[in-house]
Symmetry: C2
């Protein structure tokens, strides 16, 4: 620790991106938000990638150039006029910057492309509807004219989910359709417009007594890593999960009812907590990713906001098997579920101990003395919540089970560090990529039974590539299984090498029996694999649904969910 | 109490129905199972319906006649031969009794009809497939020949769910396809054939250590009133709920994956506990009621079997408002959910206090002394379960909340009496109907917000009819709402009067905003209301799904779920 001050550290970029620049588009989150790699991480990079301080003196392709488009919008002025007529001139954009901005999401592929000044597929017209009536008129018009419609919610898609591969119109939902319509304290639900972003949504619920004259403060219970730059509607149509999903449920579980506008009509699904009235259209629309219609309003469950009842915990396990086994017993123990619950595999654990402030402390020494070996030991962190005694009891049971499995309790201290940075890790990406290092993630669902084979199969593939970091954790828990979240950091010669590496991981996930996605969704990136994942009979059924609701294929066409081909 | 011995009591029928008789078909459950009205209930009947002991001396239309069919099977011998070729001669029936038996469910309407010797719509051929391969061949053949297929699981439908309105073939799933395929203790799931009935399923799971060499005993957690005469597959395709659903979830929540054979192909849905891979076909098939394909295998969640951790409780509330309010606060309290939880409205409470052995006890006196008034007070009974301290804490919190709401704790004693009779109430029906009294039920889902208006609206309608008992309880709880279960007992001039009364109740449920069903399903009885319930856009979407999977409309045709018309 003593020598840290002397070490060279790169001059990480720390200014707001220039207005109108490519960087202002691909940079994650708050223009003035940064999270630089700390010294330990920096050292690791150099070591893993065989780099020297020299390599970190000259950043490359930082994307400071102004966005410029050489393909003019192909939307005719008649069509633009028709849309202007609906939403007003101030809510229609055709300028280069807006077209590029609202056509790109948050994949590493897009970031690399934009750094090279390559725009990718572009929207012809960016539209900011003010309300659902306007959305209805736009859909009717576009269906008649066969104009593709893409939906931009929070913009955090990591699978080309709203990439406008067939141009047309992009509807931006976060500009105007971002309000709470009604808080229903009796039913404990909130009806909200789809474009409301995470922080505003959560803040409104926390502040319910003041804003809605409610008796209590509430929480939405949904905190994905993309929280700050994802929308309530986006959570539902992409089947997202928050970091507290083991307690609150996935977006799938939290949504009660939805209102859609489709090319063949509008509907609101039933809002009963349960019914036996045949197949549920509400379910069918969850995860529809903009292909079946436009979500214009939704009713979500809300929960009591009682952060005072959270109890943190952290453990070190001797190995991954022990960590997995303890997790399974926690989930199947029927004493209630923890809220945050994360187990890191050995490679991630070593990084985690650095990031969460354990390395170099007395705790670290005790861990070593007790024989928990680096690159074998596994970190588990989390917290419980709910009613106070319930929450306390869940923590007590977790301690009991983890200790039985050989885990050592290392206080709740590391959890606070994790919490502090929980939404900030994506900010690391720009720093690394400024020096040619790509960090990206893929994730999958597993049953308890096939967890180990998926983990081993993917790791074996990733680690067979020289100089590649692969960290894995499980962070969304169910009695029947969990997810595996793979973070890989590597240097790639070019974008094609990166893409073929990514496809290789997806091959392994499929080969070893993981799902194509636990909570990132499918988009156009994974779409082509859908048929092999669920089989032709199920895929044809979904295509029949698509064909019925969107006969002219105007809703997010071009490979989304594997409905059609994506030959861009 | 002293005078009970002197009172006349009807000579309730207490023999097994004659083999081959109509009674052997419409009688609920075990041929030698009976539950006779006790003296208090008998007195109530006489009083409410203005009857004397004389009226109970001569039972009528007991259905002792042998089943006789005057419409021969219209299935050609070529077709019968083709089916025999698939399943073997011993698994095909064309005799009168089998045709009537497997064509009738458990509605009051069917019971009254059969008592009058009217057979109703009949299957042409009753077939008992031995495995899913045979089901596949039958579906392929019937699709080619356009022969309707109806599915008989446990036979307990209360909405004409498998009524073969277009004749054809009835497949009986309980005869051979009734086994557990695999118990997966790691994932805590069981893979089972759809025709397995409740008791065999539950007994196998309880006995898992012996039968499957498991480390623990398990429970399926699903205990509908029809438990003894309903099948695992039936629970899922009709979206059933068990009496412990507030803790274990509805069938909807318990099923993990399903295997279907449809006219256009076969598929098994994904078995991950959660995925973000687009709209879930697994969900779409839940509640499909035999219209989209045949469920041939399914994987269900299982739970630890720990009856030793159950804690009973019962309360008396001053009124229905207080009971509802306390229930809502229990469900929204975030300390875990109770397992059984039931609140009875004032009219049901009076009967419940009789049935559950409270009336006449010291407890009864205390209740009266404390000022809980008959026809205002409301009974609440239930139990908690799960891990021991969790379960104890849930009970503790329930006590705290109920007391705050003015409830008086009346020990767990009434719960044991309820448990004893929990699956036996349907047996009462035959006794009453032997003397022309009809008892039937309808049920609905409500949000907390509209619970009172649905309850009042339906009650007002029912009670406007002279001499009609209407008891209501809520028994399946969620943070966002519950169900209302209406039991009515009345004398009807004829079946048409009964049916128009029933339709009147459904009108009121719709008018006041309840769902068409919470857990009985839709069937052909409620099917015609589906479009008005969910709207034409959603109904057309479901019809498109139907059209795709069953282009020749051979799967349970004739009004099921409102897909086509049922002019019978």
């Amino acid at each position: 620790m003593a020598d840290t001050k002397k070490d060279f550290q790169p001059d990480w970029y720390e200014e707001a991106p220039k207005p109108g620049s490519y960087r202002s588009i691909f940079k994650w989150g708050d223009p003035l938000g940064f999270k630089h790699p700390n010294l330990r991480l920096y050292r690791m990079m150099k070591s893993v990638f065989n780099l020297t301080d020299e390599d970190f003196k000259k950043p490359e392709k930082e994307g400071h150039e102004q966005v410029a488009v050489d393909r003019p919008s192909e939307m005719s002025s008649e069509r633009i006029d028709a849309i202007v007529e609906i939403v007003g001139e101030e809510n229609v954009q055709t300028d280069d910057f807006s077209r590029v901005r609202y056509s790109n999401g948050q994949t590493a592929e897009e970031a690399i492309r934009l750094r090279n000044g390559i725009n990718g597929p572009l929207s012809d017209l960016v539209v900011h509807p003010r309300n659902k009536e306007e959305v209805g008129k736009i859909v009717a018009y576009c269906n008649k004219e066969q104009i593709p419609i893409y939906i931009y919610g929070g913009g955090s898609s990591v699978n080309l989910g709203f990439q406008p591969v067939r141009a047309g119109i992009t509807l931006v939902m976060q500009t105007h359709m971002n309000k709470i319509i009604r808080l229903n304290e009796v039913n404990q639900t909130v009806t909200v417009q789809p474009g409301m972003l995470g922080p505003a949504y959560e803040a409104s619920l926390n502040d319910a007594p003041k804003l809605f004259n409610a008796k209590r403060a509430y929480t939405g219970g949904h905190f994905p890593q993309s929280f700050e730059y994802s929308s309530v509607g986006g959570w539902v149509v992409t089947l997202g999960s928050g970091q507290q999903s083991s307690y609150y449920g996935d977006a799938y579980d939290i949504v009660i009812s939805q209102e859609y506008i489709t090319p063949v009509g509008e509907f609101v699904t039933l809002d009963y907590p349960a019914t036996a009235t045949g197949p549920k259209v509400n379910d069918l629309m969850k995860g529809s990713e903009g292909t079946l219609g436009i979500l214009v309003e939704l009713t979500m469950k809300i929960f009591r906001y009682q952060p005072e009842n959270r109890f943190n915990f952290a453990f070190i396990f001797p190995d991954w098997d022990a960590a997995v086994d303890a997790s399974r017993r926690v989930c199947q123990g029927e004493f209630g579920m923890p809220s945050v619950f994360r187990i890191s595999d050995p490679e991630e654990t070593e990084v985690g101990l650095k990031l969460y402030g354990v390395e170099g402390t007395i705790l670290d020494k005790i861990i070593q003395l007790r024989g928990y070996k680096p690159m074998q030991r596994c970190l588990c962190i989390g917290h419980t919540e709910g009613e106070r005694r319930f929450s306390r009891h869940v923590k007590k049971k977790i301690k009991q089970i983890c200790k039985q499995a050989g885990g050592m309790y290392i206080t709740g201290y590391p959890v606070n560090n994790w919490k502090h940075g929980r939404f900030r890790d994506p900010y690391l990406r720009e720093d690394l990529q400024d020096f040619g290092i790509t960090t990206d993630t893929l994730e999958t669902s597993v049953t308890w039974e096939n967890l180990h084979q998926v983990h081993q199969g993917v790791r074996e593939y990733v680690k067979s590539r020289p100089g590649t970091i692969c960290m894995t954790h499980a962070s969304h828990f169910y009695p029947q299984g969990t997810n595996l979240y793979f973070i890989f950091i590597a240097k790639f010669r070019d974008i094609n090498e990166y893409k073929s590496f990514q496809e290789g991981i997806l091959d392994k996930i499929q080969e070893f029996g993981g799902s194509l996605s636990h909570h990132h969704g499918v988009g156009k990136m994974i779409g082509p694999r859908m048929e092999s994942h669920i089989g032709k009979t199920q895929m044809d059924l979904l295509r029949a649904v698509k064909k019925h609701l969107d006969p002219n294929n105007i809703m997010n066409p071009g490979g989304q969910l594997g409905f059609d081909d994506s030959k861009q």
